[in-house]
Structure formats: C-alpha cells, structure tokens
Amino acid sequence: MTKINKKFWLGILVALAFYGFVKVLLTTGILSDVNQSMLLLIGVNIMLAVSLNLITGITGQFSIGHAGFMSVGAYTSAILTLDYNVPFIPAILAGGLLAAVFGVLIGMPTLRLNGDYLAIATLGFGEIIRIIMLNTEYVGGASGLSGIPAKTTWTMLFFFTLISVVLINNFIRSTHGRACIAIRENEIAAEAMGINTTRYKIIAFTIGALFAGMAGGLSAHTFYVITPGSFNFLKSFEIIVMVVLGGLGSTAGSIVGAVFVTLLYTYLREFPEWRMIIYSIVLILMMIFRPSGLLGVSKFSLGKFGKKEAKANDAIKSSGTP
C-alpha cells in the first residue's frame, strides 16, 4: 500500500513539475502558438484515451461511440457559455454530466449485447448523436457553433487532465475497478462470483462518458468552432487507436498513446497528401509487430494455451496491469 502511495505522490510531483516547466515556457513566450495548441490537444486526447480505456481496456466493453459523448459535452458547454454566460468551469462540468447521462441511457439497453455487437451499437449511437446535431438548427446544424470563447488555458487543461487521470486510475485500483477487470477477464465467471456485471458495465460507461464529455467541452473552448463532422466515427476510431497503441488496460499506456498519436498527427501535417497514408501504415505495422501496444505488458491469459479458451474469451482479451 505504502509503495503504491509513494508511486502516486511521485507521479503527482512529476506532473506538477511538468506543469510548472510548461508554464514558464508559456509566460516567457518560448513556446510557439502551434506547439501551444498541440499541447492543449494532447491534454484533451489524454482525457479521452484514459476514459475510453476504462470502458474498453479495463471493463472489456468494446465501444466505438466515444466521439458521441465528446460531442454532447462539447455542445452543452459551448451553448452554456455562449447563450447563458455560464462561467467556464461549471459549463465544462455540466457538459460532462450531460454526457454521463447519455452514458447511462446508452449503457442500459445496449449492455445486453457483447463483443462486436456492442461495438456496432455504440457506433450507431455515436452516429445518431452526430445526425441529431446536424439536423438541429439551435446548435447550428451542419456549420456547427462558432465564436466559442477560447477559455481553455494551460492551467485549466492541466488540472482537468490531472484530476481525470487520478480519479480514473484510483477507480481502477479500487474494489470496483477489480470488479470491472473481472468482467473483462470472464464475464460469466465474474457473474458467478457475485459481481453485478450490468451495474459495473453501466458505471464504467457513465464514468467514461463523463470524462469524455468534459474533454469535449475543453476542446470546444480551445478551438473556437465545433461542427458535427468533427465528432464522427473517425474521431472515435482515433481515440481507440490511442488506447490500443498505448496498450489496452494501462492508464500510462493510454497517456503515451494519446501523446504519440497527437504528435504523429501534428507533425504529419507538413506532408498533407502523405499524412493519412503514413498514419495508416504506422497503424498496420504497429498492430502486426506489436499488437499489445507501446507499453503493453506481456499478457497473461489462458488463451495462449488453447484455441478453445481463446474463442471463449471472445471480444477483447488483453490484460496488463494498469
């Protein structure tokens, strides 16, 4: 216990030191605008990746609708600050809460599905949210909302990211987190051990949606404009890619994955016509040569010893300690 505690405080200390370092760079103006917006984007992506990791990596529920939650948060908080002059932090929190409500709503009916079917249903939900936004004049329709005040500062973003990482990581380490891992490893066995699987799946979806919503709000207040098109299923894929590249089930992995993908995306912008081609080749090669992700711990699963078990553990089986 003390060992974990020590590690925890060390982590916080390193994060705070990083915060101070960047703050100094910002105040002295060494950091260019491009790098600054990249830094904000990295923070938002870390929140998205860590929250999806809770759903997909820890609880084993494959969701391709994360961008949907993000868009709920982004639109809610943007409307609150634009039309109702709500202060920044309550607006972000409200966006997160509404996204969490959506998490419950989507979680309840679809969690009876598993594996690929759940993935498809969440993909459908994400797209439905996008189409509703697209057809609602109040939120700007296809052209989206613009003129959102750019209130996300480095300090704001840093503390939101830090708090979400710490909260999610503590959840993963708690009894509840263990229950979620049990569901990932074997749902039927977990149920037999007295774990209320539906309840934990909904909890995971809700928490994941909450932080995705807040990340959406933060990104809306970074880039002035949000359109329904920026929250399509490609965005959801991008978040999955971060989680998987980093290493499913590992919080540190999700952070590394988010940083890696954001950097890759930003630096490839200099070769616009080659960008997506290089990106896709990196994806394919990564998956072929290192399918467990950058920080993936070598896995322990019965699947290795027999084909039958591998099949039974359907959906996603990848462990690795968080």
Binding site: T56, F62, P109, T110, R112, L113, G115, D116, Y117, A119, I120, A121, L123, G124, F125, E127, I128, I131, I132, L134, N135, I188, A189, F233, F237, I240, V241, V244, L248, E273, W274, R275, M276, I277, Y279, S280, I281, L283, I284, M287, I288, P291, K307, A312, D314, A315, I316, K317, S318
Partner: protein, 301 residues
C-alpha cells in the same frame, strides 16, 4: 399507392448495392470474425477500375453490353486479387492476435486505400461514363417508372447471388468455407486448407463489392476516393440487420435498408436518413441481437 411502389422500386435498386457489399462483410465475418472495415474501400477501388476499363473499352468501339460485362469482369478480377493481397499482407499475420488489433489493422487498411486513392486520383469526384443508354419503362401502363438501369442492377444482383449460392452450396471451396466458418480447428483436422479457404472468401467478397462499385458508378454517375465510407458502413449495418454470417440475411438486410432509406427520403427527411438506418440497427440488435436471420448462440461456460 403508386408513389409508394415507385419508392419501393427505387429502394430495391439502392438496396441491391448494399446487399452486394454486405455479402462480403458477412462472409468474412462468418469465417474469421473480423469486421473488415476496408471492404467499403475495395468497393471504391472496384468502382474506379470499372470506370477506367469502361472508358477504355468504349473508346475501342465495343458494343455497350460487351463493355458492361467486360468492365464488370475486369473490375471483379482485379478487386479479388486486391482482396487476397490485403488478407495476406495485413490480416494473416494477425490471425492469432486479439480481435481489437485486427480491427485496428482493418481501419488502417481502409485509410491506406482511401488516401492512396486521393493521392493518385485526386480528391475530386469523377464522372462515370454512361455505358448503357438509359431508357424508362412504364409498368403495366401506370405512372410507375422503371429505368433500364434499375432492371440491369437487379438482374446483375440476382445473377451474382445465384452464382454465390451455387459456389457456397455445391462447390468444394464453398463446402470448405462453410466448414471453416463452423469450426476452424475441426476443419483443419479434416484436411481443409484453411488459408486457401480464407483467401477464397476474401476474393469472392471483394469481387462482389467491385460489382457493386461498378453498379454504383452507373447509378450515380460520380465516384470519388472517399465514397466507400458511407456505403461500406451502411452495408455493414445491412449485414448485421440480416444476421451477420448469413448470406440470405445479407440480401434481405440490404434490400430492407435500401427501401427504408428511400422511403424516409421520399417523406422529406433525407437528412435523417443515416440516423434512421442506425436507429433500425440498434432496435434490431436490442430485440434480436443476432439479427433477423442469425442463429442464436448460447453462452457456454
């Protein structure tokens, strides 16, 4: 009533395109349990090959029906080869790894095809040549119109379905495919070459997607490198609707989705069309998780 039937006819011709793509999804999923997201892009490639071969053949002065058949065959053959090479290069090394890794690879392949297309062909849409003259027929003297194109689409779909049904039911490859989809290990023990069977599945699926691509080009007269995304997703929805892994299910799912979409658009809600497609999908999944024609698989402890 006539208006409704008119929309039904239009819906069936859109639906047959979905059905042809959905078959590829369903066959690949049935065998290696992979949602092959690159399938929609094979459809795009097929459409472009069809476009260039049709242009070339029409310039050579061949009669329209020969141009159509030849460009269909060329497009289907090259796309089948493409499908096999995608499987060999990208999916085969991953057969033993996790499902999510395979899925990400499929997404990577999809991006690769799309943006290589953009790089080579440019992002703008290209006009598809009119291979056949478009004629309109009136059904039973009423005001319901049927275009010659629509008849041709339906005919092509039906013929390809029959061929597919024949392959899957009566040929050695088809039997091997069914065996592999039932149980890979048992099939291997019975002496079936699993790798070759999987390649054959990809070849057939990609050829059908290519045929759908050519038909799509002829219907909408415009093709672009990113056109595979939405039809691909829709076809996938169709495959799930019908019960993924089931061939008649893919056909019914495609036709159903096409009809529902056309009816929704004709009621004036065309911007809600995609949303309704996904809503139908979710409803079906919730009430009948294995799709309309899917087998219910019991959970085993």
């Amino acid at each position: 009533m006539e208006y409704f039937i008119q929309q039904l006819i239009n819906g069936i011709s859109v639906g047959s395109i979905y059905a042809l793509i959905a078959l590829g999804y369903t066959m690949v999923y049935g065998i290696i349990k992979l949602i092959n997201f690159a399938h929609g892009d094979v459809f795009m490639v097929g459409s472009f090959i069809g476009l260039y071969s049709a242009k070339y053949l029409a310039n050579a002065g061949l009669p329209p029906i020969v141009v159509l058949l030849l460009s269909l065959i060329i497009s289907m053959t090259i796309s089948a080869l493409l499908g096999i090479s995608i499987e060999r290069l990208a999916y085969k090394p991953l057969r033993k790894s996790t499902r999510i890794a395979a899925l990400i690879t499929a997404i990577g392949v999809s991006f690769l095809l799309e943006y290589t297309g953009v790089l080579i062909l440019g992002p703008q849409a290209k006009g598809f040549p009119d291979i056949m003259d478009k004629k309109q027929y009136h059904l039973f003297g009423s005001s319901i119109q049927v275009e010659s194109n629509q008849i041709m689409i339906l005919l092509t779909t039906i013929i390809l379905m029959l061929v597919l049904q024949y392959i899957v039911r009566y040929t050695k490859t088809g039997k091997a495919m069914r065996a592999v989809s039932f149980d890979v290990e048992a099939a291997r023990l019975m002496g079936i070459n699993v790798d070759r069977t999987i390649s054959a599945t990809f070849a057939i699926g990609s050829a059908l997607a290519a045929a759908a691509g050519v038909i799509f080009g002829m219907t909408y007269n415009s093709v672009d490198p990113l056109m595979g995304v939405m039809p691909g997703l829709k076809a996938f929805v169709a495959a799930v609707l019908g019960g993924i892994g089931s061939i008649p299910g893919a056909l019914v799912g495609g036709l159903l989705l096409g009809t529902v979409e056309t009816e929704i658009s004709s009621l004036g809600f065309s911007s809600w069309r995609d949303g309704v497609a996904f809503a139908v999908l979710i409803l079906i999944l919730i009430f009948k998780p294995s799709g309309l024609f899917g087998k219910n698989v019991r959970e085993k402890v």
